[in-house]
């Protein structure tokens, strides 16, 4: 007989209560794990998108806010707000190697929302380093056809020569791109002229991706672009950090939520321990009568709540791990992308994370056990006699 055996026997005495208390810690820790890795995944995802964009400088409409920046990175629809002639003016600046316009439009295929991008086809193809999986790329800037990303093909059963209707007009699929592992895979492309005409828009674009020959002097180029057009101009890094900033506050909110779950779990433990001690006060008296010291009673109950923490940390990690795998793609990307699945962004198992979670769980549980254990250690041997 040793303390650990005594404690584990006590732990399992009220199975229902044991399970519910454990569930409380599990949920608390699981939400912590899931939200923790969700935050990390969101950051990784956004950074990846910024890299995919392959631009050194981004020129956007005059509204400069993190949500616009996020839309640029995620390839989501943005209002057309930049006159097309600006594209050429920027390209003419010394040292600028490419000036690529994007007209991002909201559209749908079979009722599911997708992004339709109006492009200058040759510039875009060179800039994005696209390869053609099948079919033939746009013949000219006025071709009445579309090119689709590879991710859309299995989703909608597309094939070269098939028709896609936009704004009441059918467009043959001219080509399917090879996989790029970027937003391009889930976009439909159309020559800029055609897109503007079909959607009844003036000669404007949503944003311009710019590359330069010397990235150490982006400040100089930004100033030059600002001279040409009174627009919002920022580097890719600035764009990224502004988006990461909103993610940071999102992260905080998520962690606050899991913090509340953890506090609730801690009170669950306190409650369970107080009840257990009330039920067992006669037994505590018996132990004290047979020579058990106060310190050992304290140890017994701290160990009991610590065991809750250990078990809850393990189950919480497991549940949180699974939940984050299921939920991460749903949350970090738009609804449509999650359907395609993106296994690269799922949570990876890490031993330091596991140890941190268990340490946190055990720590919280032990702290929660302090007051009940102290109460228990105050009971006298007379409890054994009084509570017959």
């Amino acid at each position: 007989m040793n303390i650990l055996k005594l404690v584990s026997k006590n732990l399992l005495r009220r199975r229902g209560r044991f399970i519910f208390t454990l569930l409380g810690i599990t949920i608390g820790m699981a939400s912590f794990v899931a939200l923790l890795s969700l935050g990390d995944n969101l950051r990784a995802e956004v950074s990846q998108q910024a890299e995919d964009l392959g631009a050194d400088i981004i020129v956007m409409g005059r509204i400069d806010c993190p949500f616009v920046n996020r839309a640029v990175l995620a390839g989501e629809q943005l209002p057309e707000s930049i006159p097309r002639e600006i594209v050429g003016q920027i390209a003419a600046i010394d040292g600028i190697t490419a000036s690529i316009p994007y007209l991002t439009l909201g559209a749908s295929i079979q009722g599911i929302p997708i992004t339709l991008v109006g492009i200058l086809s040759d510039d875009m193809k060179a800039h994005r380093e696209w390869n053609i999986e099948s079919g033939a790329f746009f013949a000219d800037e006025n071709a009445l056809s579309v090119v689709v990303g590879s991710g859309l093909v299995p989703r909608f059963n597309l094939e070269v020569g098939g028709m896609l209707p936009f704004r009441g007009q059918d467009f043959p699929i001219a080509a399917i791109l090879q996989e790029t592992n970027s937003n391009d895979d889930i976009s439909v492309f159309m020559p800029l002229n055609v897109a503007q005409e079909v959607f009844g828009l003036d000669d404007y674009v949503s944003f311009i991706a710019v590359t330069v020959d010397d990235v150490t002097h982006t400040e100089r180029y930004i100033a030059a672009i600002m001279d040409v057009a009174n627009l919002s101009v920022s580097t890719n890094e600035e764009l990224l950090s502004s988006v990461l900033l909103i993610l940071g506050s999102l992260d905080m909110t998520l962690q606050l939520i899991s913090g509340v779950a953890l506090i609730a779990a801690a009170f669950g433990i306190i409650n369970t321990m107080m009840t257990a001690i009330y039920e067992r006060r006669r037994e505590i008296g018996i132990l004290r009568a047979t020579g058990c010291k106060r310190g050992m009673i304290f140890q017994v109950f701290i160990l009991e709540s610590g065991l809750y923490g250990l078990l809850g940390g393990l189950t919480g990690f497991a549940v949180g791990f699974i939940v984050s795998r299921v939920a991460a793609p749903l949350v970090q990307q738009n609804e449509f992308v999650s359907i395609l699945g993106n296994p690269d962004t799922a949570v990876v198992f890490s031993l330091p994370l596991l140890l941190t979670i268990i340490g946190l769980s055990v720590g919280i549980s032990i702290v929660s056990g302090f007051y009940p254990a102290w109460k228990a250690s105050k009971l006298t041997p007379m409890e054994a006699i009084r509570n017959v």
Binding site: L6, R13, G291, C292, K293, T380, P381, A384
Partner: protein, 222 residues
């Protein structure tokens, strides 16, 4: 070395803070080592109170108690717990076994608190069950045992750390006459092995088996 296992000097106990009960009013007694003593008296006159104070389960409000020459009144809670664990075994009228542990585990649990060699003690647990004739009930839970068997397990537990003194508060109070007889046989055998035994009873028949008789009336020795 004291020749007394237990000594009390003017022991007083007042219960309660509002309405006070003066349960012991100056009890002085000496109990020699190796003796078999009985405390007898009417209900509510302070027998249990006296035994609980001697056993260090509760604190007196006046007077002093010596166990094996040690003044336990002056000990702090930790030291007192040590004395309880090493010098005293307790048997209660209501058995007081831990319900979720087997007979054997109950005895082993009591051994956890002693500063004695663990390997010696764990062999003792089975030997103690054999001593009270319950080897076959080692793995039985308290709910599976009769009153007489429960009290025999409790007696075996009181011997767990081989204490020199055993205090028993109406050990046969909840038992039928056959079980009472069985239990008394075991208690007398244990006494013969050299233990100092003090027990409380209502029964004059049982009291007559004791070597020393202390009669208590209204909190005082008669």
């Amino acid at each position: 070395m004291s020749k007394w296992a237990i000594q009390t000097e003017n022991l007083e106990k007042v219960y309660g803070s509002g309405t006070k009960t003066h349960a012991l009013k100056g009890v002085s007694l000496q109990i020699p080592k190796g003796s078999f003593s009985c405390i007898i008296g009417p209900s509510g006159h302070g027998k249990s109170t006296l035994l609980q104070l001697i056993g260090g389960l509760d604190r007196q409000t006046g007077g002093r108690i010596f166990i094996d020459g040690i003044d336990i009144s002056s000990l702090n809670d930790n030291k007192l717990s040590e004395v309880r664990g090493e010098k005293i075994g307790f048997v209660f009228q209501s058995f007081n076994l831990l319900e979720n542990l087997t007979a054997l585990e109950n005895i082993q649990t009591a051994m956890m608190f002693a500063k004695k060699e663990k390997s010696v003690l764990s062999k003792r647990a089975l030997a103690l069950l054999a001593l009270v004739g319950l080897t076959d009930k080692a793995n039985a839970k308290p709910s599976e045992l009769s009153g007489g068997q429960l009290q025999r397990v409790a007696i075996a537990r009181s011997l767990a750390n081989d204490p020199p003194i055993l205090l028993m508060d109406e050990p046969t109070g909840n038992l039928d006459s056959q079980s009472e007889h069985d239990v008394m046989v075991h208690i007398k055998n244990i006494h013969k092995s050299g233990k100092t035994i003090v027990f409380v009873t209502h029964s004059h028949e049982i009291a007559s088996q004791a070597e020393l008789l202390f009669e208590i009336r209204d909190g005082q020795l008669k």
